[in-house]
Structure formats: C-alpha cells, structure tokens
Amino acid sequence: MLLLILKRIGLGLITLFIVSLITFVGVEVLPGDACTTYLEREAYGAALDACIKRLGLDIPAYERYLDWASNVVRGDFGYSLSGEMPINEVLGPRVKNSLVLASVSILIGIPLAIVLGIITALWRDKLPDIMISTITIFSMTIPEFISATLLILIVAIWLGWLPGIVIIPSDATFYELLSNIILPVVAISMIMTAHMARMVRSSVIQVMASDYVQMAILKGVPYWKMVFRHVLPNALLPAINVVALTIAWLLGGVVVTEVVFNYPGLGRLVIESISNRDLPVVQALAIILASIYVGINLIADLMTLMLNPRLKSLQIRK
C-alpha cells in the first residue's frame, strides 16, 4: 500500500516536471522573449536591458531553467513584470480568494448534488424526479455567462439585495467576503450541482437494479437502511473522482464567472497575465494549476482505493 502511494506520488512529480518543461520550452520557442513580448514597442535601450537583466535572459536557457525550477521547488516563482513585484505577492491573495470561492461552492454544491441525485434516483420517473431533473438539465444547458449576468440583473440591479461586482478590500473580514461571494457561488454551484446530481442519479439507479439490492430487500432489510448501508456506499464511490475534478476546476477553471463578477481569483489572473503578456506569471500559474490537478486527483484515487474493499485487497495481495 505504502509502495503504491509512493509510486503514485512519483508519477505525479514526473507529470509536473513534464508540465514545467513544456511551459518553459513553449516560452523559449516563441518569437522574441519575455522582455520583448512584454515591452512590445518600447523594447529597446535601457528598458530592455534592465528587463533582460532582471529576468536573467542573458544566461543560457538550460541554466535559466535549472535556476527557475530550483526556485519554484523552494516556493519562489520569480518576478512579475506587470505588477513589478515578486510573483508570490501577486499570487497570495488570488490563491486565497479562489480557495474561499471553491470551498464555499463545494460545501454547498456537493452535499446538495448528492441529496438531489439520491432523491431523483429513488423517486425515479415520479414527480420529484421529473421536477428536479428538469431544473438540473435546464441549469446545465445555460452557459455560465448568461446565468451569471441574469443573476446580476435580477438580484443586484432589480432587487438591489447584493452587490453585483465583487470588490474585496485586502483586509476584508470573512463576513464581508461572504456577502460578496454569494452571487458567484450561486452561479458556479448551479452548473456544478446539476452535473454531479445527474451522475449520482444514474449511479444510484444502477446500484438499485443490482442483485445485491434485490437480495437485501428479500432479506427483509427496511428500505432506508437498505439505501444507506447497501446502496449509497457503492453508488457514491465513483463520485469521488468526479468531485476531485470539480474541485480542481473550481480553483482554476471558473474563468468566465470570475470575469463576469470581477472576482479576483486564479482563473482571472490567468486571463489577465496572458493579455498583459506577463510570461513569468503565466509560467507560474501553469505549474500551480497543474499541481492542483495532480494533487487532487492523487488524493481522490487514494480515497477510492481505501474505500473500495475490492481494490484494497487487490493491492495488498500484490
């Protein structure tokens, strides 16, 4: 078991190494370099020299990669051109904001999705299923920029209950933050919950049709006990990996929602730094987001392994 965990961690590290190589090489083979790209027409004379010096572009590429990589391992991502400050200072608040947004959405969305999925499966083709399924399919199909804009229009402009745009002062209290993120959370949860509820539904339906559920009924196990002991543990197992992907997506992939609400998260930072041509920041973000995906998927795989007795004993036997 321990060997397996180490093996998986090793594989994750190799993945990250390859990602770092690709991003670094990608930047290298682009015409020009980080400085000419950033400075554009002003890329001459003293400004260019200063930039090259600052980024160390005058030394050979492989040395620069080793330098950069060893700094990244130590947690130092280098210097942001547009912010004119260390990247770590740019990233810090963004990571925090994304984490807050993601964790609130997860805390609300995932339990809701599971409950809705179970309800729709147990009352399959009856009124609760028809109603919930209609709503989930509806919210799955509306693109987020439309649902987000509509939310702003209705809740912020017509009703005036909540701010339409997120402005977070750096010393905001948790409560201030919370009232600011309600709308983005709702916009994100709508899609996320809908997707996951559909998945939970089909998984529960599949397990409900299995021989062992019929056996449990014929054994005289009361309905709800059967649902909780015999159905859910087996039905929710495949959901773990989907949850993991969702979390990773929440941390870096909710670009549209962040842009619509002007929410200063990681997703928007990606867009901003690309449009600012701030290549060092783009590189740093690529590594960070890749680590998030790798890390969360690793955790999910290990959890599945722990919870599924079949896989567990398979591994031990090996």
């Binding site: 299995s210 021989d211 062992y212 559920v213 019929q214 056996m215 449990a216 009924i217 014929l218 054994k219 005289g220 196990v221 009361p222 309905y223 002991r229 015999h230 543990p233 087996n234 197992l237 919870l307 599924n308 007795p309 079949r310 004993s313």
Partner: protein, 675 residues
C-alpha cells in the same frame, strides 16, 4: 397430511405491452408447499419459474404486476401486504438463496456484517450471542475457519464459498420456508454437488420446507420430493419426483428428459423441435402444440386443464397423456453417432505447449521471452486426427479455454509448438499467420449474444467471412449465405433479421453458420452449449454432429459438462490446473480405471434420476495456482499415496482400453481401487 405452509392460488402475473395489451407471463398457477417438503420447480428460461418463486416472497419485479390470484403464506396474502409487513416475513419466515451469490452479496460489506444484519433484523439476540451465532452458522455451512471468515469481503471468497455464505445468511432468521433460485448454476461440477449435498443435509436437519427453482433436472432430481414442471408460464406437470422423472406423462417433460445427455449413454440426446413461445403469442389452444408430436387438431383449438391422475398422484395438462402412459416410453435411448471415419491423418498437433499469463518483466520483454517457471498451462501434448471430435474437459481454471485461445492464435504460447497439416509450425501470433491458416481454424464462442454484432443483420454477419476469404459478391454471395442458413436449418427469411430478433438457439446456429462459412478444417468450440436451454442444447449438438458427418470437419470441443462431452466427442482430454491428467477414447475415459481427478468429476455429475446419487470423493477446494512440483492434482487427490505425489511429475500409463492416465498409482491397482 401435513400442514400447508404456502399456497399459491390461481396466480397470474403480467405486464402491459407497448400497445397497451395485458400480457401474462404466469398464467393461473396454483400449488401448495407442505411443511418439511422440498418442491422443485423446473423449466427452461422464460417459463416463469423465477417470477413464481419471487412472487412466493411477495416480490414482483419492476414492470410486472399481479393480474389475479393470491400467494397465501399461513393464510395471509403476501401480495396484499405493505412493505412493513413484508419486512417482517422476508428473511424471518421465508428466506431466499439467490442464483449468483457473488453478485447478491453487497460488495462493500463484510460477510460477518451481512449475516449479522439478518440476525439483528430477525432475532432478539445480543451482540455476543450474535457473534457466536455467526460462527455457528458459518460452521454449519462448512466454511473453513469461521472466525476469520466473518471479516472477509465477498470478493475474497470463491464461488462455492460465496454460495455457502448466502445459505448461512438465509438460515440466520430460522425461516420456515427456503426459496432457492438456481443456487448451484454457475458453480463447478464438484462444487455444485457439494452445495447440493449441504442443502439436502440442512433440509433434513432443520425440517425447513424448500422451493428449489432450476433449469437443471439433474440438480432437481437430487433434492426434490415433489416436482413442478413449468412451460410458457403454466404448470404442465406436477407430482412426486420419482414419478415425474421415471414416468413423465406430459410430452414436454418427456422431451426434456430425453434431451438431457446422460453419462451412462453414448450417443447424442434426442432434441425437441422449435422453442418456447414468447409470452402473449398464444391466443388459443395448448401452449406446447407447436412442438408436440402427440398433438391433434383438438389441441390447436382448446387449451387443456390441469387434470389430476389419481393412480399416479400427479397433475398433468395434456389431452393425450394416456398415450404416453400406455406407450412403453423408454428414456434410456439416444441417437447413435456414425463412427468417425478418421483416417489417422493428424491435422493438428500440440507439442509440449505451455502458456503463461504472467506479465513479462522488463528484461524478458527485451529478449522477447517469458520466464514463468510455473505457467498456467504446461506440457500439453495432443495429436488431433482429421475428422475427430476431441473434447477438453475440466473445471474453471483448468486451462481448457486457454489452450483453445492459443490454437486460435489469440494467446501466445510460452513454449512448445502448434503444428498444422504436415507438421508445419503455426505461429502463435495471429498476425504472423497466413490468410489460409486463419481461414482453416475457426472459433465458436460460448455466448452468441456477445459474439454476434447486434447492429448487423444475419446477412451481414455471414457475408463477412465469405467476402474476406473467398472474395464473393452479388448473387454468388447471396446464394452462399442461403446455403449456409440451410445447413444450420434456418430459412432464407432469417437474412434480414438482427440477432436480438432471434432466440438463443437460433443465434447459436448463426454463429455456427459463420464458422462454417470459412470452410474450415478445424472448428474450436468454446462451451458452445452452456448458455443454451437443454432442449436447444440437444438440437445444437445434433446439428454440429450432422455438419461434421457431412463435411468432415474436426472439432476441438471445450466444455465443463461431462455428459455433453460424452455425447459429442470421440476422444476426451481431462485437464486439471493446466496439466493433462488423462486422455483417451471417450467410451474408455468414462470407464474405470481412470485418473483420480476424472473419478472425482464423474462422481459429481448430477443425473436426472433420484436413484443415482453423486459420489463426493474430494473436497471442493479452489486452488489458485498449479503446484510448482509433482502432480497437479496433489492438493485434492483422494487417492494420494505420499511424498512422491508432491515431488515428482507422474508418468503416463496406458490402460488396456487405450486411455492414457498420468498417475503414480499403477494402473492395475487403480482399476482394483475403483472397480
């Protein structure tokens, strides 16, 4: 008269068709289960036997509903009870032992928990008493080390052990009635015999009534006091087991018994024409009319009622049953095969073949070799003559299908050679074989549902080999397809059908036709009849034999069913753990002296005759890997003589009948031991 526990009265169960018509799959069924009695319900797939059994627990499958009638358990109607009331009865008064215990045990819960659950629901025992009871139950179903067994997950047990756990779980609530839905189907022959023996013991020990549902008359014959025969949703014959099996007075039961291959009989079983009608397709007349050789015009228009025959104590649904009573019906007959005209030309030779499933290690991959010292299949030497049917027999894990795959080129051999026609070595890699060799060896798979492409019509399925090997097209292609269909006794109109529109037997005929389309020299048959009903199985066996006699094809026939093998094959090779134990002409392999493993297998075969009891001579342990040294059967052998069996590979000995046995015991001594 002992007390009646459950009685089914005029029960009909059905569903609404897409056209809004009510279609019944169970029609007007009435029967009584008495205290302490074991009733066998027998019928082929689609006869409604499982629906009836589940209804007796008040359970109706989704999509079905009761149309009329009652299921009275101690004079209360189960079909009218609320789910609360049913929870009190299920598991406590009536318990179920499912068909496939591997799938019927919840995978995430330990064995102990699942039995404990039944105890908590249905008894008042406290925790320590329950723990004791769990060990007791596991002990009662003869599972090894009950204390540790409780902490295992279902998938960690073998099939036979899982089935035993299901039995223990059903016994936990001390039920008055046990319902067994095909409890031994899918188990190996020896395991099946052991589980049946256990069930018989439990019935005697606890006095529980049992309802035993199965398609297998052999299993039914071993346990039942009374037998109910179902056909197309109706009871057609009901009576004491011995009477039903020895003097069946319904033409369906008679035909069914005739179509079962028997160990004691050489030759093929007689088949019944046609197949069971689809639910809803019969509007008038007897449901067996189409397939009955006693049918008259009267049967076409009128449906017979269940009639009680006093002197035989049976109920029968047939106008002409008297003819069967009067007819001197002899069940012990079979169709004799033409003696094989094998002209001693060896068409396929397996020489020292070993096959390994072990993953190649990195360095072995570099040098393209497999360094498995203990391969799954080892040292197989078989010479197959032209025009003969050779059968490979053994339980699951014996390597019989593995060998077949290697001959087909689907699995690489580790060592040894496969020689085809004039000692030409066939590459063990499919891609290296020339097109003519590929054509010459064809495969028929076990399950036609999976081997026929569901999106192709029969015409498309059959045209593929014809196009590929003979480049046919247009009229000529069509003519060939019609010819092929005629060969397997299917009409021209089948060309436009899709596999889902065919019955199981028809599908397997199409699969046979596809194999013959290539005009092969050798056909590899992988358990080709085990997914089929008995009456259909007999028809497919007869078809294969007929085709062979006409075309001179060679069959390599893999099966776990010794009686089927006895019926079809000229020569038999018995395998255990991928090693040959015995090989010889089939009439001699089935006679003694034989290898102790063959003896065990033969002893475990269930005959549809209550007077022939299986002989259980070896434990039904499952061995995961073949032993590294010595005889492959050392772990289970009832005749083991000592260390020599563990250390040395036994020598081949040839008996006077021409069968070769690989055993350390002298063949004459074996003969006297087994007499």
């Amino acid at each position: 008269m002992s007390e009646i526990i459950e009685s089914v009265k005029n029960l009909s169960i059905g569903f609404n068709s897409q056209k809004g018509k009510q279609i019944s799959i169970l029609r007007n069924v009435s029967t009584n289960i008495k205290k302490g009695e074991t009733v066998g319900i027998v019928g082929e797939s689609g006869s409604g036997k499982s629906t009836l059994a589940l209804a007796m627990m008040g359970y109706i499958k989704q999509g079905l509903f009761p149309l009329k009638g009652q299921c009275l358990f101690k004079s209360e109607d189960l079909l009218k009870m609320s789910s609360r009331q049913l929870e009190k009865i299920r598991g406590r008064k009536i318990a179920m032992i499912p068909q496939n215990a591997g799938q019927a045990l919840t995978p995430n819960l330990k064995i102990g928990y699942q039995i404990d659950e039944a105890l908590r629901l249905h008894t008042d025992l406290n925790k320590t008493e329950r723990d004791k009871k769990i060990s007791e139950l596991l002990n009662k179903v003869r599972l090894p080390s009950p204390e540790t067994m409780a902490f295992r997950y279902p998938h960690e047990l073998s099939g036979g052990q899982q089935q035993r756990v299901a039995v223990a779980m059903a016994l936990a609530g001390k039920p008055d009635l046990l319902l067994l839905d095909e409890p031994t189907t899918g188990l190996d022959v020896t395991t099946q015999a052991h589980v049946l023996e256990l069930l018989r013991f439990i019935a005697k020990d606890t006095g529980t009534s049992m309802i035993y549902v199965s398609h297998d008359l052999g299993a039914i014959a071993q346990v039942s006091d009374r037998i109910v025969v179902m056909y197309a949703g109706e009871i057609v014959l009901e009576g004491p087991a011995r009477k039903i099996l020895k003097e069946p007075i319904h033409p369906y039961t008679y035909g069914l018994l005739k179509s079962i291959p028997k160990l004691s009989l050489a030759g093929l079983p007689a088949s019944m024409p046609g197949s069971q009608p689809q639910p809803g397709s019969i509007n008038e007349g007897c449901s067996f009319y189409d397939r009955c050789n006693l049918a008259t015009d009267h049967c076409k228009k009128n449906s017979p009622d269940l009639e009680h025959i006093k002197e035989l104590d049976t109920n029968v649904r047939c106008f002409n049953h008297k003819e069967l009573i009067n007819q001197n019906n002899n069940l012990q007959t079979s169709i004799t095969k033409k003696s094989n005209n094998s002209e001693a030309i060896e068409v396929l030779k397996l020489k020292d073949v070993s096959i390994s499933y072990a993953k190649q290690k990195f360095f072995d991959q570099l040098f393209n070799k497999i360094s498995d010292q203990n391969p799954t299949v080892k040292d197989i030497n078989i010479d197959i003559k032209k025009g003969e049917t050779i059968a490979l027999v053994g339980e699951s894990g014996s390597g019989k299908s593995t060998i077949l795959k290697s001959i087909a080129g689907l699995l690489k051999t580790k060592d040894g050679q496969i020689k085809f026609e004039n000692d030409r070595i066939l590459s063990s890699d499919l891609k290296m074989r020339n097109p003519n060799d590929l054509r010459a060896i064809q495969l028929i798979f076990q399950n036609p549902d999976e081997s026929l492409n569901p999106n192709h019509t029969v015409e498309q399925i059959l045209s593929q080999p014809l196009k590929l090997y003979f480049n046919l097209s247009g009229e000529e292609l069509k003519k060939n397809i019609i010819d092929l269909l005629k060969k397997v006794r299917l009409g021209e109109f089948y060309m436009s059908r899709y596999p889902r529109q065919l019955s199981g037997g028809e599908k397997q005929r199409v699969a046979v036709a596809r194999a013959f389309a290539a005009k092969p020299d050798i056909i590899l048959c992988d358990e080709v009849t085990s997914a089929l009903d008995v009456s259909v199985q007999a028809a497919v066996l007869n078809l294969l034999q007929q085709l062979k006699e006409d075309l001179g094809t060679t069959y390599v026939f893999v099966s776990h069913d010794l009686a089927v093998v006895r019926a079809i094959s000229d020569r038999v090779a018995v395998l255990y753990q991928g090693r040959l134990c015995e090989i010889g002409p089939s009439q001699n392999v089935y006679k003694f002296p034989s290898h102790p493993y063959t003896e065990v297998l033969l002893g475990a075969v269930l005959e549809p005759d209550p007077d022939i009891k299986p002989k259980l001579v070896a434990e039904d342990i499952v061995e995961e890997k073949p032993p590294e040294k010595g005889c492959s059967f050392q772990g289970r052998c009832p005749r083991k003589i000592g260390d020599i069996c563990n250390l040395e590979v036994p020598p081949w000995q040839i008996g006077e009948n021409g069968n070769a046995i690989r055993c350390h015991i002298n063949i004459d001594e074996l003969a006297s031991l087994q007499q």
